[in-house]
C-alpha cells in the first residue's frame, strides 16, 4: 500500500492547488479576511498593530470569549442558543472569588495563597457552571421550553445571583496561584514556549501522517506526498511563527526589577526576559483541541451534529436527544466557568460587571466562524478565528482612535455582513441548509 500512484479509482479531472491540498476554503477565506484586517490596521496605526506587544495583548484578550465560543458552536449546531453565558460567567466568577478570599482561607482556615486554594476554587466553579448549564439544558430538553426563553431568563437570573452573592462588591485580590491564568500574570517564558512549540509541531506532523496511514489502510485515495509535505510545512511554520512573536515581547524592565526585588535579589545589568506563551492561551489551545476531538471523533460529537441536521432522524436512530441537550448545555456552563477563571484572573478580582455582553460576543464569534443558526454546521477552529477577528476589529479601531459608538456600529455591521457572505458561499458551493 506504499505506492500511492497505483490503482486510481477513476480518471480525475485536473485539480486546482486548493483541491489537491484539500484545504478548507471557508477557513481560508476567514484567514484571508483576518490577515487583510491586521495589515490594514497596521498601516493605519503606523505599524503599532502588528507589534509583539499588541499580538500578545490581542491573544490574551480573545481567550475568554474564544473558550465560550467553542461551546456555543455545539449549542447552535443543535439548533439552540445560550444567552446566559455572560451572566453564568459572573456567577462562576463570584463563586470562585468567594471560595479563595473567604470560604477557604477564613472559614476553613487555610490562610492566604494555600496551594490547594486555586484548584479547589476552580473545581467548584466548574461544578457550579456545569450544574447550572445542565439545569438549563433540562428545562430545554425535557420540559421543551425554548432555549431562547430559558437562557434569556438565565441572563437575568445568574447576573443577579452573582450580584446577590457579592452584594455587588468587587472581590479581590485573588489567590496568587489562581492569578497564573490571567494573561501577563502567568506566562511560560521563552524556553518553555519553544518546548511547547516543538511538541505542537510534532503532534501536528504526527496527526497528518496518521490520517494518511489510516486512509491507506482502508485503500482510500490520498493526497500526493508533496501536498502533505506542504501542509505540514505551513502548519509548522504557523505554530513556530506564533511562538516566536510571543517570545519577542520582552517583559518591561521596571516590572522585571520589581520581580527581582520581590525575591530579595537585584537585577543584573542588561538582563531581559520574554513573556512567552500565556497560560490562558495554553488553556484555550487545550480546550480547542479537546473540543475538536469531541466534535469529530466522539459519538457525543457525532450525535450533536446529527441532531442539528435532523432531530427526528437522530431520535429514530436511538439517540437520546433530550439527554444530549442537557450534556451540551452542561458543557457550555463548564466552559463559561473556565472563561470566568481566565477573565477574573486577568482582572485580578471579581467585579460585578464581569462578562457583561459576553453572550453577544460569543454568539457573534461562533456565527462569524461559520456556525449556521439553522443547525448542523459549525467548526471549533472557525469559532476561535471568529473571536479573534472580533477582538482585532475592536482593538484595532480603538488604536486608530475610532469613537466608541462608531466601534460598535462597525462590529454590528461586520457581523451581519459576515453571515451574508457565508450564505453566498454556501450557495456557491451547493451546500444546502
Amino acid at each position: 500500500m506504499t505506492d500511492t500512484s497505483s490503482a486510481p479509482i477513476a480518471v480525475q479531472p485536473r485539480k486546482s492547488i486548493v483541491q489537491t491540498l484539500e484545504l478548507d476554503t471557508r477557513l481560508l477565506g476567514m484567514i484571508g479576511a483576518f490577515v487583510v484586517l491586521c495589515i490594514g490596521f497596521d498601516l493605519l496605526t503606523g505599524g503599532r498593530f502588528l507589534t509583539p506587544r499588541n499580538v500578545f495583548n490581542l491573544t490574551i484578550q480573545t481567550v475568554s470569549v474564544a473558550i465560550m465560543a467553542t461551546g456555543m458552536v455545539f449549542v447552535i449546531v443543535t439548533r439552540n442558543i445560550d444567552l446566559s453565558v455572560g451572566s453564568l460567567l459572573a456567577t462562576c466568577s463570584a463563586t470562585m472569588a468567594m471560595m479563595q478570599t473567604w470560604i477557604l482561607p477564613d472559614l476553613l482556615g487555610l490562610g492566604l495563597n494555600h496551594p490547594v486554594t486555586a484548584p479547589i476554587a476552580i473545581f467548584s466553579g466548574l461544578v457550579i457552571g456545569g450544574l447550572i448549564g445542565a439545569f438549563q439544558g433540562y428545562l430545554i430538553g425535557y420540559l421543551a421550553i425554548p432555549a431562547f426563553i430559558v437562557t434569556l431568563g438565565g441572563l437575568l437570573v445568574w447576573r443577579n445571583v452573582a450580584w446577590y452573592m457579592t452584594s455587588g462588591q468587587t472581590i479581590g485580590p485573588l489567590d496568587k496561584n489562581f492569578m497564573v491564568f490571567g494573561g501577563t500574570n502567568g506566562t511560560l517564558g521563552a524556553f518553555w514556549s519553544w518546548v511547547f512549540g516543538a511538541i505542537a509541531v510534532l503532534a501536528a506532523l504526527y496527526s497528518i501522517w496518521n490520517a494518511r496511514r489510516n486512509k491507506l489502510a482502508h485503500g482510500f485515495p490520498v493526497k500526493p506526498l508533496w501536498a502533505e509535505a506542504v501542509m505540514g510545512a505551513i502548519v509548522s511554520g504557523a505554530i513556530l511563527g506564533f511562538v516566536a512573536s510571543l517570545n519577542a515581547y520582552q517583559i518591561p524592565v521596571r516590572r522585571l526589577k520589581r520581580l527581582f526585588e520581590a525575591r530579595g535579589e537585584t537585577m543584573p545589568e542588561g538582563y531581559s526576559e520574554a513573556y512567552g506563551l500565556p497560560v490562558s492561551v495554553l488553556v484555550l489551545i487545550l480546550v480547542a483541541i479537546g473540543m475538536t476531538i469531541i466534535a469529530k471523533r466522539t459519538r457525543f460529537g457525532r450525535y450533536i451534529f446529527a441532531t442539528g441536521g435532523n432531530p427526528d432522524a437522530a431520535e429514530l436512530s436511538g439517540i437520546n436527544t433530550r439527554m444530549l441537550t442537557v450534556k451540551v448545555f452542561a458543557l457550555m456552563g463548564a466552559l463559561a466557568a473556565l472563561s470566568a477563571v481566565v477573565a477574573s484572573a486577568r482582572l485580578g478580582n471579581h467585579s460585578n460587571d464581569i462578562g457583561t455582553l459576553d453572550e453577544l460576543r460569543v454568539i457573534a464569534a461562533a456565527v462569524i466562524g461559520g456556525t449556521a443558526l439553522s443547525g448542523g454546521f459549525g467548526t471549533i477552529r472557525g469559532a476561535i478565528l471568529g473571536a479573534l477577528i472580533m477582538q482585532s476589529l475592536q482593538s484595532g479601531m480603538a488604536m486608530v482612535g475610532v469613537d466608541a459608538p462608531l466601534q460598535n456600529i462597525v462590529v454590528g455591521a461586520v457581523l451581519v455582513l459576515a453571515v451574508w457572505i457565508d450564505i453566498l458561499y454556501r450557495k456557491k458551493t451547493g451546500e444546502r441548509l
Binding site: 477513476a10 489510516n214 476531538i293 457525532r302 436511538g318 454546521f377
Partner: protein
C-alpha cells in the same frame, strides 16, 4: 403456509390503536408476521400504515394494544428498544441527517469505535462501501453529505442502514418509491434473499404488482381500520384493489 397454524409468529401486533388528538390514525388493528415471510401493508394515503409500523419501530407509543415478539409480550417505548429486538426500519421519510455523509448515517447510533473509544470513520466508510456495492453499485459519493445525493441514492443509504445490522424483523415503508428500475430490481432480489435467511418483513407499498410478486400475505387498511389480511396466492389484483378502495373483503363477495 400451512405450517403457520402451529408456529409462533415472529411479531404479533394485537388490537393496536393510536390517536393524534381526536384523529384515530390506527384503530384496533391486528397484524402478524412469521419468520421468512413478507407481509404487505396496503391502503390509501392516510390509511394509517406508517403510524402502525412506527409503533413497532418505537417511534410512537400505542394508546391501546399489545406487541408480542416470538410469543412474548414486549414493551417498545423508544427506537433503542426496537433495535434491541433486532427490528430495523426503513422510514418513508428516510430519517437521514442531511449534514452527515453516507457512512455516518449508516452507523448513526451504532458507530464503530477504535480501541480508545473514538469513532473510526475509516472503518465505517470501508463497511459502507461494501454494503453499498451490493445495493447500488453506481454509488460513489461517500464523502459528500447526504443532502448532496439524489432521492434514490438517499433511499439506498436508508436501505443499507436497515439491512446492515442483521435485522430479524425488517420494516420497509415504501422503500422503492424513489428508485430507478434497476435499483428496484436489486431491492426485490434483496427482499427474496433476506426472506430466505428467515427474516420477517413488513413491506408497505402502493404498487399492487410489487406486493403480488414479493409478499406472502397482504394486510389492507382503510381509515385506520384493518379491512382484512389475505394470502396473496388466493386473490387477484382486483380483489386487493377492492379492499383498498371500497374496504370490501373478498370473502364478502363470495358470500353475497
Amino acid at each position: 403456509m400451512t405450517a403457520q397454524a402451529q408456529q409462533v409468529p415472529l411479531v404479533e401486533m394485537r388490537d393496536i390503536s393510536v390517536a393524534f388528538g381526536g384523529v384515530r390514525a390506527v384503530d384496533g388493528v391486528t397484524v402478524d408476521l412469521f419468520p421468512g415471510e413478507v407481509v404487505g401493508l396496503l391502503g390509501h394515503n392516510g390509511a394509517g400504515k406508517t403510524t402502525l409500523i412506527k409503533v413497532l419501530s418505537g417511534a410512537y407509543q400505542a394508546d391501546e394494544g399489545e406487541i408480542f415478539i416470538n410469543g412474548e409480550k414486549v414493551n417498545i417505548s423508544n427506537p433503542r428498544d426496537a433495535r434491541a429486538y433486532n427490528i430495523e426500519t426503513i422510514y418513508q421519510t428516510l430519517a437521514l441527517a442531511d449534514n452527515l455523509d453516507a457512512a455516518s448515517n449508516l452507523f448513526l447510533g451504532r458507530e464503530i469505535v477504535t480501541s480508545v473509544g473514538l469513532v473510526d470513520d475509516g472503518a465505517m466508510e470501508a463497511e459502507a462501501r461494501k454494503i453499498m456495492a451490493r445495493l447500488n453499485p453506481n454509488f460513489e459519493k461517500f464523502s459528500a453529505p447526504v443532502s448532496a445525493l439524489s432521492g434514490g441514492q438517499r433511499q439506498s443509504v436508508a436501505i443499507a442502514r436497515a439491512v446492515y445490522f442483521n435485522a430479524r424483523i425488517l420494516i420497509m415503508d415504501e422503500p422503492t418509491a424513489a428508485l430507478g428500475p434497476h435499483e428496484t430490481q436489486m431491492v426485490s432480489e434483496l427482499i427474496q434473499q433476506l426472506k430466505s435467511e428467515g427474516i420477517g418483513i413488513f413491506l408497505i407499498s402502493h404498487d399492487i404488482h410489487e406486493v403480488m410478486d414479493l409478499c406472502d400475505r397482504a394486510s389492507v387498511m382503510k381509515n385506520g381500520k384493518l379491512v382484512g389480511t389475505v394470502d396473496v396466492a388466493e386473490v387477484t389484483d382486483d380483489d386487493l384493489l377492492g379492499m383498498i378502495i371500497l374496504g370490501k373483503h373478498p370473502q364478502d363477495k363470495a358470500k353475497s
